[in-house]
């Protein structure tokens, strides 16, 4: 058994993967689009937190909410401005556009914020002891917020009128429109929520890691892996996939050091060989 501190780090990493992966999978499941620039939205969110919280001294939680809303709005702009006009042209345009946005956003970040690594101070300093275990408050807050956000997401999608309309419209946009669902509004809501989740993940992560224009790639890949392991298209799958990657990642670093990333990849391949449809996916008929 790895020490408790390693479990805590696993929980932390899992929280972040889950937040990013569930935003990505939400957009995919409702809109049928993989937003490859999701990681760069995360990166822009991290810069927003840096400038608001670390530089301007705005309260951390206020900065977090502003970041989530701002990244959510940017998501709406991408959906309305680029994805929707291209929607009639098939599957490839959204892929090309969101891949292109990676370079655009990384370029903008380098140009305006500079390539240097930036540090965000701890938002909630100090440590707490739980029994014999001492954990930084920062990590506890990250996990608590991530859990709360995921519960909120679950409630939103499965128990509200808006969530019902989102799911109905994803399954059959024609019929949903017959009962008054406006597809456009549903797409905007979905994109807002999905991207806001990236903003929240960035806000939580920034004080624990550094911020630079290239931090978006790893989270995107990890989120995609989590989604594929979990079974494409299900938020629950993203949660389980994210946790699997988060924990195995930290354990592997603990035991194997530099070989951990390669081994994580082998785990993914192993899962896919055993269950090509993912843990929660259904076999294709």
């Amino acid at each position: 058994m790895p020490p408790v501190a390693v479990w805590m780090d696993g929980l932390l990493l899992s929280s972040i993967y889950i937040l990013i992966a569930s935003g990505l999978v939400l957009v995919f499941s409702i809109m049928g689009i993989v937003n490859f620039a999701h990681g760069q939205l995360y990166m822009l969110g991290a810069f927003l937190i840096y400038y608001m919280f670390a530089r301007a001294g705005i309260n951390y939680f206020v900065s977090l909410i502003i970041t989530a809303v701002a990244i959510g709005l940017l998501g709406i702009a991408i959906e309305r401005g680029l994805l929707r006009p291209l929607a009639p042209n098939g599957l490839l345009p959204p892929v090309v556009v969101t891949l292109g946005l990676i370079f655009l956003f990384e370029g903008i970040a380098t140009l305006f914020f500079g390539p240097a690594k930036k540090a965000v101070p701890s938002a909630v300093p100090g440590v707490s002891s739980i029994g014999a275990l001492t954990v930084s408050n920062e990590k506890l807050v990250v996990v608590a917020i991530a859990v709360a956000v995921m519960i909120g997401l679950y409630f939103l999608v499965s128990h509200t009128r808006m969530g019902l309309a989102m799911r109905a419209s994803a399954q059959d946009p024609y019929t949903a429109s017959l009962y008054g669902v406006r597809r456009g509004r549903t797409l905007s809501q979905t994109m807002f929520i999905g991207c806001a989740l990236a903003g929240i993940a960035a806000s939580l992560m920034a004080p624990l890691y550094f911020v630079d224009p290239w931090i978006g790639l790893t989270p995107l890949i990890m989120a995609l892996l989590a989604i594929v392991i979990g079974g494409l298209g299900s938020v629950l799958g993203a949660v389980v996939g994210g946790a699997l990657l988060g924990f195995s990642g930290t354990f592997l670093i603990y035991y194997l050091g530099p070989w951990s990333e390669l081994t994580a990849f082998l785990i993914v391949i192993a899962v896919l060989l055993l269950r090509p449809e993912g843990i929660f996916g259904r076999p294709r008929a």
Partner: protein
């Protein structure tokens, strides 16, 4: 109540509906019969606003509605029960019904409507937590009509409810449509099953190849020689 004036529909360059005019009175039960590809579904899609006619006008209760968005038309009380039922497969029966009431803000009305639907189709009450896709064809058709009723419609557009159903289940659905109509909801029914359609409705139209070739009371239509030969196999 509903009036279509010289409606034309084009898909790309091809004309699918060729200038038809049609009327449904308050509380009326009207049927449109016609073979595959006649343009029946296209007409309903024009009324519910999912497609725009290339020409013509649609009037509902002295208001022109043919350029309104589908949600605006649904809000005015025209509810379209689509061909092939189109139950949301991954939503539960209850959620499917809730989707019908998507525009209905009045909670007590929704409750009352729900009770009426369970009274009409008791089988749905036993299935509320099941996924839509797990229902049989007949149950799905009942759910589709129930979902339409949840919106509190003044006019129901029902597209081929008998499609793929056994005669017995068709009979049951037919009876329930009569009940719904007696309660004051006007129905515009589209059917290939002419026998059933002409039995249920007061007035009927025959649509072939995008043209209305015959219209009249159903009592007249069932006596018509052409209809007897072509649609009733007599």
């Amino acid at each position: 109540m509903l009036l279509l004036k010289s409606i034309r529909v084009h898909y790309n360059k091809r004309e699918a509906v060729k200038g038809i005019s049609l009327e449904v009175g308050e509380g009326d039960f009207v049927v449109v019969i016609g073979p595959n590809g006649a343009g029946k579904t296209s007409v309903l899609n024009v009324i519910s606003g999912v497609i725009n006619p290339s020409e013509g006008e649609v009037w509902f209760r002295s208001e022109r509605i043919d350029r309104l968005a589908p949600e605006k038309i649904a809000a005015r009380g025209i509810i379209h029960v689509p061909e092939g039922r189109r139950i949301f497969p991954k939503l539960t029966v209850m959620e499917n019904l809730q989707m019908g009431a998507y525009l209905q803000k009045d909670k007590t009305k929704v409750e009352r409507e729900l009770e009426r639907i369970f009274h009409l189709f008791p089988i749905l009450k036993e299935r509320t937590r099941q996924r839509g896709e797990s229902l049989s064809g007949g149950e799905q058709q009942m759910l589709a009509i129930g979902r339409g009723l949840m919106a509190g419609p003044a006019l129901l557009l029902i597209d081929e409810p008998s499609l793929g159903l056994s005669p017995l289940v068709t009979q049951h659905v037919a009876e329930q449509m009569t009940v719904i109509n007696r309660e004051g909801i006007a129905i515009l029914l589209v059917e290939q099953n002419a026998r059933m359609g002409l039995k249920l409705a007061n007035r009927g139209y025959v649509l072939t190849n995008g043209d209305l070739v015959l219209e009249g009371t159903t009592a007249e239509l069932v006596k018509n020689e052409e209809i007897r030969k072509a649609y009733l196999g007599l």
